[in-house]
């Protein structure tokens, strides 16, 4: 029945061992194929260079300023590596603007290029949406099924309509917990680029699969924490696709990055741009006053002009210029504020020179403070968070991040700026 003496047996062992090894090679090949399939797109993305024609920095900035606002929809990823202490973000399960403090967040953006837009911050199984539709805006949090409806009061509404008819883009009401988009962020940076910085164009690159020019804004100041800001602008539509803020601390990765990973230049569907409160959702109305100076250009100028024009709230002083600006506010009892009284926060000014940064900080600040007893982050104890984010220094408590330093002194002053902490401590005396 079996016969090991058969001549055919001589060749068999080698073949069998071989076939056994060959079988184990199959999963090896499968693993390599999988690695290749998942790795290649990334490699191609980094390796591909754009062949867009050269432009000068001035041309490019002008192009961006003149560009027609584009209707688009897309996915943007925001990544913050601010070097903040670990925040117990596991307490914050769903999609919430507080996630922007650290780590990576994904957003979906729809805009018609005019005054209608929707930005949704994606959580694993939740979403936080900000919908702006002309003079109205909504935020909707799927986590607690809550709508906040922002409107203008009737007088402002009339003024808004007038402005809208003048074809200058109307200014939508300010939304607490607003979400940044690459375009808005870039616009703010380029507005600031003119002061105290050199502007250059880097080698063409690819963002969200599109050719883009990086506009590199390098502060002339040696003091500021900001090493450079890179705004990548779509070569075709001149729409900013990505903003990266590089800190002096880390030359490898940007401290802040907000850019499209996927973008389509086409008008989004109406369903994306409109909003009506879903049945059963809790709804809160907020009437927002229209600012006295309504056009964004004027506003930007006012901000660029900086201190001393009387627009600052009482108790606020600004020292330094350009990127080194430090804003000092006196008479704020942060600890009390966190513990109880939310109303006094409203007066806390945004950092003047770095609006992207300080706007976010203010939003966050407001997020921490319970409003009407039902803040967006009810589980997160604001005082605890404050303790965790800041460190003890002789003058008070210091929040130090890769791009921004905030010093809260024991005598009730708050100093903030895109400068190293030492500068603030010196300033505080």
């Amino acid at each position: 029945m079996s016969d090991d003496n058969a001549p055919a047996a001589t060749g068999a062992p080698a073949r069998r061992v071989h076939s056994s090894r060959a079988r184990w090679a199959v999963p090896g090949i499968a693993a390599v194929a999988v690695a290749a399939a998942f790795g290649t797109p990334a490699l191609i993305a980094t390796a591909s260079s754009s062949d867009a024609p050269d432009v000068t920095a001035a041309e490019l900035v002008a192009r961006v300023a003149d560009a027609e606002p584009q209707a688009l929809s897309g996915t943007a990823v925001y990544t913050a590596r601010l070097g903040l202490p670990e925040i117990p973000l596991s307490d914050v399960s769903g999609a919430d603007p507080i996630n922007l403090l650290g780590g990576s967040s994904t957003m979906r953006v729809w805009t018609d290029g005019q005054d209608r837009s929707r930005v949704a911050l994606l959580g694993a199984t939740s979403e936080y949406s900000v919908v702006a539709d002309g003079p109205e805006a909504w935020t909707y949090s799927s986590e607690d099924d809550a709508v906040v409806h922002y409107t203008l009061d009737p007088a402002d509404r009339a003024r808004y309509d007038e402005l809208a008819q003048d074809a200058s883009a109307g200014r939508a009401p300010d939304v607490a917990g607003d979400l940044p988009t690459p375009q808005e962020a870039a616009q703010q940076v380029l507005d600031l680029a003119r002061q105290d910085a050199t502007v250059a164009v880097g080698a063409p690159t690819t963002v969200a699969g599109r050719d883009a020019y990086p506009v590199v804004v390098t502060p002339t100041s040696e003091t500021t924490l900001v090493a450079r800001v890179v705004v990548s602008v779509d070569s075709e539509t001149s729409t900013p696709l990505r903003v990266q803020v590089w800190s002096r601390d880390d030359a490898d990765v940007p401290a802040l990055e907000l850019g499209f990973t996927d973008v389509t230049f086409a008008p989004p569907s109406d369903t994306a741009l409109e909003f009506s409160a879903p049945p059963g959702a809790s709804e809160r109305d907020v009437v927002v006053p229209l600012p006295p100076e309504p056009t964004p250009e004027e506003l930007a100028d006012a901000e660029a002009a900086g201190a001393g024009d009387g627009a600052l709230p009482p108790g606020t002083t600004v020292t330094g210029t350009g990127w080194d600006t430090v804003v000092e506010t006196a008479g704020v009892d942060v600890v009390d504020l966190l513990a109880a009284d939310p109303s006094s926060v409203a007066d806390l000014p945004p950092g003047v020179q770095e609006r992207l940064e300080s706007q976010g900080a203010q939003d966050l600040y407001e997020e921490f403070v319970p409003q009407d007893g039902s803040g967006p982050v009810p589980e997160l104890d604001a005082s605890t968070l404050y303790e965790q984010l800041t460190t003890e220094v002789p003058q008070g408590r210091l929040l130090s991040s890769a791009l921004l330093s905030v010093l809260v002194t024991d005598d009730g002053r708050v100093l903030a700026g895109a400068v190293p902490a030492d500068v603030l401590i010196d300033r505080a005396g």
Binding site: R23, V26, S126, T271
Partner: protein
Amino acid sequence: MSPADSHAPLPAPAEPARRRGAFARTVRAELRLVLGRRRNVVLLIGLALVPLLLGVVLYVTQSGAFAGQGPGFIGRVTGNGLFLVIASLFLCLPFLLPLCIGIASGDAIAGEASAGTLRYLLVVPVGRGRLLVSKAIGALVFAACAVLAVALTGLVAGAALFGVGDVTLLSGTTVSVGDGLLRVAAVVVYVGLSMTGLVAVGLFFSTLTEVPVGAMAATVVVAIVSGVLDQLPQLSAIHGGLLTHHWLDFAEFLRLEPDPGVLVQGLAVQAAWLLVFGSLAWARFTTADVSS
């Protein structure tokens, strides 16, 4: 005297010919075994009880202080029974579904080996590759049944307890019942497909041992460890490839405009696990000695 002389030699049978539909027969036999097994039926019933239990609890407490609260989609169930399907899947995803699927897939080969039936199947003979594929189909069908058990009881219980209405998406937009049903169906399909990688992992472990409990436990542990690793920010570089990372992406179907890119990415990761561990299982099973 040799007995061989006393009997006429048996006529040598013709070379055995493969019959059409033989593989279908094998698969049917495997399915009968998997779905007829009492333990597996009990697992399916247990899974089906989850939405029932959840629905009843929410129904009883819906006028209480905790109405409309809860992680995931639990808070929405009382408003719309369709969400009971999603909330139940969400609850079962981290542990119960991997457990049941780990049991079925870890048992596939190791169970036969430990019972000794594997050697009898192999001398029938059945090709090892074919046997593995039929086992994989059995485990995959069981995984599908597990997901469907949750989904269908969720749908029935949700509709009975809370009614079915227009569906409010995560973005706050409300869509019609028909659209909502389609989206929920898509969620169920996505969750089902999300389990394929785990089935492959279980099948591979199942070929490594003759102790089915070991293979089952290892499979469940893989799912749990993957979930834990997914929580570690230090490992964010590998998160995208983790077995469980994209499981919750079923939520994409509840967003305003589901992004096919996200869904394809999640399914591609499952396909990758299926490919790698499927081929590992194949290499192991077709070369292993069966000595049980």
